[in-house]
Amino acid sequence: MAKTKVTKEDIEHVSELIMVKLTDEEKAKLPSQLVSVLEYVGVIDEIDTKDTKETHHVTGLQDVLDEDVVRPSLTQQESLSNAIETEDGYVKVKGKLSAGADA
């Protein structure tokens, strides 16, 4: 069920969700570019998948579970080694962020 119409609102909604800032020029160009991509991929709709089970996993693996045994963790230094800013062993981020953004 490929979408064949992409509006500016669609672009804005998705860019918000993925936190990618777009210029007005990009917002104007993207709808038609995306439509042609969607139409190209839309060829998949020609296949009858009525009797095909929805594919979630492709490895064929099942029931992969680990025993609840502790393995060593990284040291604090290793853990923070890629953080841009740290303070007293914590990762430091600007702005007020209360615990948990969503529900």
Binding site: V70, S73, Q76, L97
Partner: protein, 503 residues
């Protein structure tokens, strides 16, 4: 308030007791540890890291579902829930969307009329926790946040109820019973103050007759307009579940009566002020773009595995409560015993050692009396003391047979709590053996009468209440070991004889 119905649902998150995190084998024991010392590439969400599910967490989820009479999925999987936040390193939370491990089930509560009501459970699913964030302010006033990833990916179970509760009281009962079940199953310590159990009531008020509950949803009747629901967070104790719901109920009714607009929102409970405070509006549902996590293969749960888990479930509080009250134990006494599964296990042994119902009831008195006081003082539970359940019944039997008086029993019990021993030996050692031999008692009574002619005179003059003082004298002579009933009988008999002769 009567114009409106209150509709309450609960969303509860629980930290199950596992050694490791949900999708990596870092220790899950993050409480009060140095920040960022329990992390690895998986729970830090580093590129290329792959999750592997924790077997114990799955088992505990099944165990919990069984205790809640839920249906355990034959096939269950994990899904990605996408949103951006610094405490969510991968940019998605691994959770369960449309194939949760448990569906359905219920917990019984009592409604306002005292009738038993089954609060239906929608589902229970597994997910990972997010990191811990703390708000700070710089010297220049700008705000920043410190993040500790020790908590990132710790396992969580999320339980959601149907919107079928009608009061803060019912919600509190549900939460309390759920907490007790978790502790009984040893699935979680469920300590709210440590964040191991987090309750979020979701509620709305609706004008009576404007709504109906159908297919798990609150729907309008006809063209009635429904009020939106309010979510309450930051409930830091079980009692706040009730308080917060009750406060919000009142607040919403006041707004509705004033004709003011109510918008769907999240509010936080301020325990100090006893009020809820606005946090944010929540009109549009977030687009989480759920899809099955390709890194985590689906999990099949067989009937054999379920049967194995069923075997590990101990006798639950509900069942024991009925058993205890059928023995004649008062509800309130039974609930005190049931509060701690080890205490309940101890009490079951006491019941087994007893040969009559009355002995059980006497034992309960000591458990919730003398023993409870000792426990409070020593900070040790009865099952951590030296008093065995069989010894407790022995003491009860010794009082029953008259070996010791009821007054002496607490002394014997206190000795046995502190040091392992034999009740009969302790009675000998402390000289508490009750004397019921009429000959002995008569001797003491005669002595008391002879030594207290002034009190006897008072009796003859009509003041019969002095009998007590004379009985007290005999008790002192016997060092508390005389059977007070027999002493009293004999004393009264001798005094009235005296009166007849001299009166």
């Amino acid at each position: 308030m009567d114009k409106y119905d209150l509709i309450v649902a609960l969303e509860i998150h629980v930290e199950p007791k596992t050694n490791t995190k949900m999708f990596c084998r870092c220790s899950a024991d993050f409480w009060e540890k140095e920040p960022n010392t329990l992390t690895c590439p998986v729970c830090l969400g580093l590129p290329g890291a792959l999750p592997v599910a924790n077997k114990k967490a799955v088992e505990l989820a099944i165990k919990t579902g069984l205790a809640l009479h839920s249906n355990i999925a034959k096939e269950t999987k994990f899904d990605r829930k996408h949103y951006f936040y610094p405490d969510l390193p991968k940019g998605y939370q691994i959770s369960q969307y449309d194939e949760p491990i448990c569906t359905g089930g219920y917990i019984e509560v009592k409604d306002a009329e005292g009738n038993v009501k089954k609060v239906a459970i929608t589902r229970l699913h597994m997910e990972e926790d997010v990191a811990k964030s703390m708000h700070r302010v710089e010297a220049d006033g700008s705000e920043y946040t410190l993040i500790d990833y020790n908590k990132s990916s710790v396992p969580l179970f999320e339980l959601v109820t149907e919107p079928v509760m009608a009061s803060g009281e019912e919600a509190w009962q549900f939460a309390k019973k759920f907490q007790q079940i978790l502790q009984y199953l040893d699935v979680s310590d469920a300590a709210i103050e440590k964040g191991q159990m987090r309750c979020e009531p979701n509620l709305s008020i609706q004008k009576k007759g404007s709504w109906e509950y159908k297919n798990g949803q609150i729907l309008p009747i006809g063209d009635a307009k429904l009020y939106p629901k309010i979510e309450i967070k930051n409930i830091a104790s079980l009692s706040f579940v009730k308080k917060a719901v009750e406060y919000e109920h009142k607040r919403l009714v006041e707004l509705a009566e004033r004709g003011e607009e109510i918008r769907q929102q999240t509010r936080g409970y301020n325990a100090e002020k006893g009020i809820t405070e606005f946090q944010r509006y929540k009109e549009s549902a977030q687009d989480y773009r759920y899809f099955p996590d390709p890194d985590l293969p689906p999990i099949n749960i067989s009937d054999e595995e379920i049967a194995e888990m069923e075997k590990t479930i101990p006798e639950l509080p509900e069942v024991r409560l009925q058993k205890y009250t059928e023995s004649g134990i008062a509800d309130t006494d039974a609930l005190i015993i049931l509060d701690d599964i080890k205490k309940a296990d101890y009490f079951d042994k006491v019941i087994a050692a007893a040969s009559e119902k009355d002995q059980i009831l006497e034992a309960v008195k000591y458990l919730n009396g003398t023993i409870a006081s000792w426990s409070n003082k020593e900070k040790r539970a009865v099952y951590e003391s030296e008093l065995g359940p069989e010894e407790l019944i022995e003491v009860v039997k010794l009082v029953e047979s008259g070996e010791i008086s009821k007054n002496s029993a607490p002394k014997v019990i206190e000795e046995l709590l502190a040091k392992k021993g034999n009740p009969t030996e302790i009675i000998e050692k402390l000289g508490l053996k009750q004397v019921s031999d009429s000959g002995e008692i008569e001797k003491w009574v005669d002595e008391a009468l002879a030594e207290n002619s002034d009190i006897v005179q008072k009796y003859l003059d009509g003041k019969e209440s002095v009998t007590g003082a004379l009985v007290g004298q005999v008790m002192a002579k016997s060092r508390g070991s005389a059977d007070p009933k027999k002493v009293n009988e004999l004393m009264v008999a001798k005094l009235s004889e005296h009166k007849k002769k001299n009166g």
